[in-house]
Symmetry: C4
Subunit: 213 residues, 4 copies
C-alpha cells in the first residue's frame, strides 16, 4: 500500500544504522553546532540522508529523509541540504558505494587548512593504512585530497569527479570544512572515516613535535 518508491524496511534499517553511528560520532565532537551529514544507499535510485541543521547528538528517525540520486526529496517535504549532491554523486557513480559519512572534526578542519596549499595529506608508513579497502600492507601510501571550499556544489562535485577518474579513493577533505568518507556499507565507511581521522591526527601531532615539514 506504500505510495513511495522505496522499501520501508530498507529505510527503517538504514535509519537505525545512521542514528546509532551518528550519535557516536556526535559524542566524539565530530559534528559541532548541527553541522555534518550522513547517508546510506537504499537501492539503485534512492538514499536515506540526515535532514540539514539537526542536532546530531539527538538524532531520531524524524531527522532522516529519502532523496533520489539527483538529490531531490522523495516522499517528504524536507529541504535536502545543499551538500546532498556530494553524497548522491558517489552513489550514482559507483554501485558499490553504500554509505557516505561527512564530518567536521577538529583534526579534519585543522588539517584541511594546514594542507590546503599542498592540496593533499600524504599518509605513509602506518599499519592502519590496512584499514582502507584494497590495502594489505603498511608499505602503501595514501593521498587524501584537499579541495578548496565552495558554496557551489557543482564546482566541488566536478573536482571530485576528476579525482575519481584517476583511481579508487575513500575520502577527501574540503578546506576549512571537513571530511567526506565512504564505503560499501556503514561498517566500511565508518572504518575508513575512523582511519582517516586517526592518521590525520598523527600527522598533525608529528608536525607539532617538529618531525614533519
Amino acid at each position: 500500500m506504500s505510495a513511495v518508491p522505496y522499501d520501508h524496511k530498507q529505510l527503517a534499517d538504514a535509519a537505525g544504522e545512521i542514528i546509532v553511528n551518528v550519535r557516536e560520532l556526535a559524542a566524539l565532537g565530530w559534528t559541532p553546532a548541527t553541522s555534518s551529514n550522513f547517508s546510506r544507499r537504499l537501492d539503485a535510485a534512492h538514499a536515506a540522508i540526515t535532514v540539514s541543521g539537526r542536532d546530531k547528538g539527538r538524532l531520531t528517525e524524524a531527522d532522516i529523509m529519502v532523496v533520489d540520486l539527483d538529490g531531490r526529496a522523495v516522499g517528504s517535504d524536507h529541504r535536502p541540504s545543499a551538500e546532498t549532491l556530494l553524497h548522491t554523486q558517489l552513489y550514482r557513480r559507483d554501485a558499490d558505494v553504500g554509505c557516505v559519512l561527512h564530518t567536521h572534526s577538529h583534526n579534519q578542519t585543522v588539517a584541511s587548512r594546514l594542507f590546503a596549499g599542498e592540496g593533499r595529506v600524504r599518509l605513509e608508513g602506518y599499519e592502519l593504512l590496512k584499514a582502507f579497502r584494497g590495502n594489505a600492507t603498511h608499505e602503501a601510501a595514501i593521498e587524501l585530497p584537499v579541495l578548496a571550499n565552495s558554496q557551489h556544489m557543482p564546482t566541488l562535485a566536478a573536482q571530485v569527479d576528476t579525482l575519481l577518474d584517476h583511481g579508487p579513493m575513500w575520502g577527501y577533505l574540503i578546506d576549512g570544512h571537513g571530511l567526506y568518507a565512504w564505503g560499501r556499507d556503514m561498517a566500511e565507511a565508518r572504518r575508513h572515516l575512523d582511519a582517516f581521522e586517526f592518521l590525520i591526527g598523527c600527522e598533525l601531532d608529528l608536525r607539532r613535535l617538529g618531525v614533519r615539514g
Copy 2:
C-alpha cells in the same frame, strides 16, 4: 494563586532545558570548579539563571533562580551572581535574546589570554561560520571581541554596550575568564557557543602548528 510575577510552567520548562544543557557542558569540562553561569528568558521582565557557586555537573531545579532584568532575585532569597548583570544586560537590550550561556573552557580561557593584546579573535574561512545567525557562507569573517577582565560588572557591561552599538554580535571573551554566547533560544545559543568553542580550538591549534602569527 501564584504570588510570583512569572509563569510557573515557563520556569519549569526553562529550568529543564538549562539542566539538560548545562550537564552536557559540564561533562565536556567547560564549567570547571563550580564556575560558569547560564540563563533563559522567561518573559519581558524576568529570566531564570543558575545560582552562583553550584556544581554544574550535578545541577538540579534547586540550583536555578528567577531574576528581574536589573538582576534582582524574584521569589527567592538566593543571592544572584555578580555576573547576572552581564546576562540581564543582553535581555534588556534586545527582545530577541532568549538565552545566555557563559562557560570557562580550556580553549576559551587560553584564547582569551593569547588574544587579549589584540582585543579580538578573527575567525575566517571556516564552513562553520554558517552556524552563526545571519551568515550564509564561509566567505564571511567574524571577530570575537576579548575584553579585559574586571570584578566591576558595570565596567564590563559598558564595554559590551559599546560593542553592541556597532552591530550584531553573538558572543565575547573576557581575558583569563571565559566566553559569553547567546541566541534567540537555547538551541541557537548552544549552536553559537559550540561554534565559537570549535573555531577558537582550530585557531589555537593552527598557531601550535606554526601556521598563524
Copy 3:
C-alpha cells in the same frame, strides 16, 4: 557494640563520598595504573583513606580503610600506602582540613617536570583563582610549589611543613609524580583540585603556544 574507635555512620558517609568522586576522577584519566590516593577526615583522630594499589575506576567500600593520624591502620589488617603520611600530616596540622585528594593527571605530571627547576608554578590573572578559599578576585596570584620526589615520606612531609609555616596553601606538586590538593570538605577539596588542574593546563598550553617562557 562497635569495638572500633570511630563512628560507623561517619565512615559510611565518607566512603560513599570518596567512591563517587574518585570514580569521576578515574574516568577523567587522573588516576592511571592504580596510582593516586584519597582521604576524608572522620574525626579529630581518624581518617578514611583508599587502600594502596586498587583500581580507582572500580572503587568499592572494600577499597577504603581507616587510619589514625600517624598513618596506622585502625580496625583492619590493610597495609596503608606509604603516602598516607602526606594525608595525615595535613589533618594533624589543621583541624579545618577535612579532605585530601592526590591525583596523577597528565597535566599535573608534565607540569611537575617542567617547573621542577623553578620549584613552583605561578598562576596569575585567571578568574578561576576565585575558586581557592580566601580569594575574591582574579587580581591575586597563587604559587603552586613543586617538590622533588622522594620515596622517603618524612623528607617530603618536612618540606610541606616548611611551606605551610609560610601561610595558607591548598596544594602542591611532586616532581614526576602528581598533585596533592585539600580543603575543608570534599566539595572544597574537589574545587581546589579541579581549579589547579585547569590552571596548570592553561599554563602548559600558553607555553606550547609560545606565549610564556
Copy 4:
C-alpha cells in the same frame, strides 16, 4: 562431553574479562578502525584471542576464539590474525605471562614514529615507573623498545626474542603501528599498558613544550 582440549569455564571467564577491558580501551580510542588484538592464557597450551577485524567497541563472546601456542585455531573455523604469533610467542616463552594486550592509541603510534630512529623510548624519573612489576622506586629507568614494522611476523618475533634474552620487559612498540604490553594476568597487563600509555604521553608533551630533544 566437550571435544575441545580446554576448559569451558576457563574460556568463559577469559572472554568476560577480555570483553569488559577491551570495550573500555575502545572507548578511550586506543583501537581505531577495528585494529588491535587482545589475548588471555587459558592453560599451558591454549589462549583465548580476539578474532581479527572485529569492532572492539562492540566486542561479544562471538568475537573471541581459542588458539594453541603455535597460533592455530582450536575448536573453531575462525582465521586467527597474523599477529597472533606475537601473542603466543610470549605465552610459550614464559609460563608467568597470562595476558597480552596490543593497542594502537594516538600516543603509541606517534611515539613509535618519533622514536623509531633511536629504537627506544627512555622513561625516567616518574613515580608511575612503580606500576611495572619489579620496580619499587621512581629512581629506576625503563627503556621501551621500538621495532621496525613488518608484515612478516617471524621477523618481528625474532627481534622480540632477542630483546627478551636480555632481561625482563613488559612491552614494546612497533613503528607506525602500536604497543604490545603484557603481564601475569589481565590486571597486571592492563596496569602495564596504562602506565606505558601515560608515560609515553608525558614524554611527547615534554617535547611539544621544548623540554626534551
